[in-house]
Amino acid sequence: MLAALRTVIRRDLLLAMRNKSDAANTLLFFVIVSSLFPLGVGPEPALLRTIAPGVVWVAALLASMLALARLFAADYADGTLEQLALAPQPLAAFVAAKILAHWLVSGLPLVLIAPLLGLQFDLSGTALLTLMASLLIGTPVLSLLGAVGAALTLGLRASGVLVPLIVLPLTVPVLVFGAGAVEAASSGLGAQAHLSLLGAFLLISAALSPWAAAVGIRIALE
């Protein structure tokens, strides 16, 4: 079974390599959205510093949501998903492997570049560290929840907009505590409470999402 999982991960990473732009684009989207806000909101630096954590987190949320919406779409359209469903391993395991690969390709880079964006917004050192930590714990949760949304909307024409719609409400707590952690850190309160909550979300969603997504896929295939 592990071999099969490794194959899925390797395949998805290989596909990402073939299509290097994919990962790069999620990243660029993240950067661009975070830079849009100052434009819309206006250039007052104090104001910007206040909204920075929220903006960066919302941008991360949207970027990973976009990339996720089509997590299974290609596999569904070309029949690969049918084959996965007929493979001798549990579908949930494949789903977990796909999510992991996806996070490595499009979640991790966000975590790594976030400090740069934070610098732009003039955040302090601790705030930056906390931003990274919160994203490190939070973005996998986004990937996991996004996968469920992607599975439930498989094959629907409107999935591009449906996924955010289904998933955003679930990810609101992640956003609140993620951005909250940064704010707490930059106001010197310590972000530990926020981060442990995020950790709890991660554990729960890691335990449940793959199963939920697998069920969604089987329903879509019937």
């Binding site: 206006g42 007052e44 630096p45 104090a46």
Partner: protein, 149 residues
């Protein structure tokens, strides 16, 4: 319509659209699309009320006064026609000088004083060695045009 006429009509339509666009752009630039407002505009109530905006102009010579705390500064911003008093507490940019350009961001208080949250120096497009600047300043006393060799 013959194809040729169709094409002409399309091109004419496109040109008309571009012309109208140009007219709109010109119209816009005659109005107030600005990074900062001049004191005259502020006095003429052209600047926003009750919210932050920027004023820009020259720091009036001799108007800069520091409070004893060393951080709070009072100065006047002028565009030679109108003048607005500004109060700011924080670190001023190195190029903040009397008689030089400045852009301040903040709110206009009911007392007519502009409470700045950020002060930026706006320099002009002149670059010259100090001696030349001195010479120019001397000459400028005689006549107002700036000449640079």
């Amino acid at each position: 319509m013959k194809p040729r006429h169709k094409k002409m009509a399309l091109i004419a339509g496109g040109l008309a659209a571009l012309g109208a666009a140009a007219a709109l752009v010109l119209n816009a630039f005659q109005s107030n699309l600005v990074f900062f407002f001049s004191p005259s505009q502020v006095m003429a109530n052209e600047a926003p009320r009750d919210r932050t905006f920027r004023i820009g102009g020259l720091v009036e010579a001799g108007s800069v006064k520091r409070r004893t705390d060393g951080l709070t500064v009072h100065f006047n911003v002028t565009d030679t026609a109108k003048t607005i008093p500004v109060v700011f507490s924080g670190i001023l940019p190195d190029l903040f000088r009397e008689g030089k350009g400045v852009v301040a961001q903040g709110k206009l208080g009911s007392d007519g004083v502009f409470h700045a949250t950020q002060v930026l120096a706006k320099h002009d497009e002149n670059y010259m060695p100090p001696e030349a600047a001195h010479a120019v300043a001397q000459a400028g006393k005689a006549q107002k045009t700036v000449i640079v060799k």
